[in-house]
């Protein structure tokens, strides 16, 4: 987790500019007015806490996403951008291909990041529903793409049905994500045949509510939890109680704490997921 500024550091123009600079490119424009409105939702006594949480937000803009995908693919054994140097056939598919979901967006980022946007690469990028008809063998490789692994449950369940059926007999099956929680990655590797590659790993101390997180006191964590409950009573710490402060430019994952992304009558997150 990124370290916040010291307590009671002024919320001045320089600090706001630093946030705006960090969060540039989010799907809903993050401007000064929205930052100020967001912080005003915290009581005056807690505004410093709200600001320090913003300091800690791990934002993945297009460059970081591209870098994760570039290094992720380069690390895979047998891969080469040159067809004649590649081992076996290679096929890429989104893990969550529904319209508007992150999988399709990630596929686009991935192609751009790896210089595979040209038509000649089109055949390598397939729909999940076309994986079987590719008739891939033990010499071949499938790379599934997504943005984030949180608890790992979703990927693990999806592997159980239907992906393990669609990919039976394929030599290597990788999942490349921009970021992953260590616990989620380990779960996937224990429960599936997927090999997970990631650009950034979140560990226990990245959970803002965890004892391992040293940037906030117990009182501050309790106070922050109350705001999170205001934003989402059922999942204040985000899906799976991950307690993360992670935001992707295309969407804030629901594994992040509720104050960041929930948007309802009681709370307006700075990174809404559905607008």
């Amino acid at each position: 987790m990124r370290a916040p500024l010291e307590r009671n550091a002024p919320i001045d123009q320089a600090r706001i500019d630093a946030w705006l600079n960090d969060f540039v490119g989010y799907r809903t424009n993050v401007n000064q007015g929205r930052v100020e409105a967001y912080l005003k939702q915290f009581k005056p006594a807690d505004r410093d806490l709200g600001a320090r949480v913003l300091d800690c937000v791990e934002f993945f803009g297009p460059d970081r996403i591209a870098n994760a995908y570039r290094t992720g693919l380069a690390a895979l054994p047998g891969w080469s951008p040159k067809a004649e140097e590649r081992q076996g056939r290679w096929v890429f598919a989104p893990m969550s291909p529904s319209a508007g979901d992150s999988g399709g967006t990630m596929l686009h980022h991935f192609r751009l990041a790896n210089g595979m946007a040209k038509n000649k690469f089109n055949k390598m990028f397939v729909h999940p529903s076309s994986l079987l008809t590719q008739q891939l063998s033990a010499d071949d490789t499938v790379v599934l793409l997504d943005d984030f692994v949180g608890t790992g449950k979703q990927v693990s369940d999806a592997w159980a049905e239907p992906f393990s059926e669609l990919l039976a007999g394929v030599g290597n099956v990788y999942l490349i994500v921009v970021a992953a929680r260590r616990a989620g990655r380990e779960r996937i590797q224990n429960e599936t045949e997927l090999m997970v590659h990631f650009g950034h790993e979140f560990v226990d101390c990245d959970n803002v509510f965890a004892n391992e997180c040293v940037h906030f006191t117990v009182e501050e964590k309790d106070s922050f939890k109350r705001y999170c409950k205001k934003a989402n009573r059922k999942q204040p710490a985000g899906f799976g109680d991950c307690g993360l402060l992670v935001v992707f430019a295309h969407r804030c994952p629901n594994d992040s704490v509720a104050v960041l992304h929930e948007s309802n009558k009681k709370w307006k997150g700075l990174f809404p997921r559905n607008t």
Partner: protein, 319 residues
């Protein structure tokens, strides 16, 4: 069809450690009912496995994969049998494996339909045959299941992907597309110049997402309304209502209920039935049916009811 036989070549019989066997990824494992396996488990516990399992060695991992004998293997595990007899065959091709699994496990009702449909797609391509009856014979699936699979495969890949989505909240059930299919292929709906299957499908998905479709079976009602509009010659108004229904996410299927259509359809139905009854009664030889008191009683009731309705209408009935 490819030159390869749809079965794997035998290698030989031997004993393999039970723990070294793995279930086939194309096996519909959800169908194994523990209760039904008790007698088999009891038998294997007493006399061991008499019929060898059929397995192959996976080239990728070197693991033994079960082609046939999953139940026997599960029972062997349950009774802690250290080894099991196996008949090893060559690793089948994907198509061979799928055909074998289809043939062994004919019932796949508990499974998501889309993976089955995709396997069928692969087989159709390999055997170059789309005949429902022949595919049913090849796979052991019943013909209705093959038809359902083919309906799913008729949808563009982006919709097929939705049925496979890793996110269960986003995954669309196969039933949605199966129920939508007759609407998209309705002869009347294709006549509307505004109608495009892709945009109509998108509109219905959006309705489904915002829960303006209570159940996917509501597509049957849409189809019925389309049918009725044709019968009642109200296709123009139906087209307008249907377009509004598709374009406005907030509208429910109640918007499609046209009273005039409903009335006209019922009227047509009653007219047809009345004519048939008229012809039947006219042909009756009263002497021959003299003792059919129930029939005469029913006709008398009907006559009274018809007279009452005609009277309500102000029609002259005493002729």
């Amino acid at each position: 069809m490819s030159d390869e036989a749809p079965v794997a070549r035998a290698i030989g019989v031997k004993n393999v450690k039970t723990a070294e066997l793995h279930q086939n990824p194309h096996n519909p494992r959800l169908l194994f009912d523990r209760v039904n396996m008790d007698p088999l488990e009891d038998s294997i516990g007493r006399v061991g496995i008499l019929v060898p399992l059929t397995v192959y060695k996976e080239k990728k991992t070197g693991r033994y994969i079960i082609l046939d004998g999953q139940r026997r293997w599960m029972c062997a595990q349950a009774v802690n049998l250290p080894t099991v007899p196996v008949n090893e065959v060559e690793e089948p091709t994907l198509v061979q494996n799928i055909v074998t699994m289809f043939q062994i496990h004919k019932l796949r009702l508990d499974w998501e339909l889309m993976p089955t449909a995709l396997k069928l797609e692969l087989l159709m391509h390999e055997v170059n045959d789309k005949s429902v009856s022949r595919l049913a014979a090849l796979t052991g699936l019943d013909q209705a299941m093959v038809v359902r699979c083919k309906k799913l495969l008729s949808f563009p890949k982006k919709y097929q992907d939705m049925m496979l989505d890793a996110n269960p909240d986003k995954r669309i059930k196969a039933d949605f597309f199966i129920e939508l299919y007759p609407v998209l292929h309705d002869r009347q709906i294709k006549q509307y110049d505004w109608f495009k299957p892709s945009s109509f499908t998108e509109a219905m998905l959006e309705k489904h997402k915002v829960k303006k479709l209570k159940a996917v079976t509501e597509f049957r009602y849409v189809k019925q309304q389309l049918n009725n509009s044709v019968k009642a010659r109200k296709t123009v108004v139906m087209g307008r209502r249907l377009k509004e229904f598709a374009e406005d996410t907030s509208l429910t299927i109640a918007h499609l209920e046209l009273v005039t259509i409903k009335t006209a359809t019922t009227a047509l139905k009653i007219s047809k039935a009345a004519k048939e009854l008229y012809d039947a009664v006219e042909d009756i030889d009263t002497d021959e049916y003299y003792g059919e008191t129930d029939m005469w009683g029913t006709l008398e009731k009907l006559s009274t009811l018809i007279r009452a309705r005609l009277k309500q209408l102000g029609r002259r009935i005493d002729k």
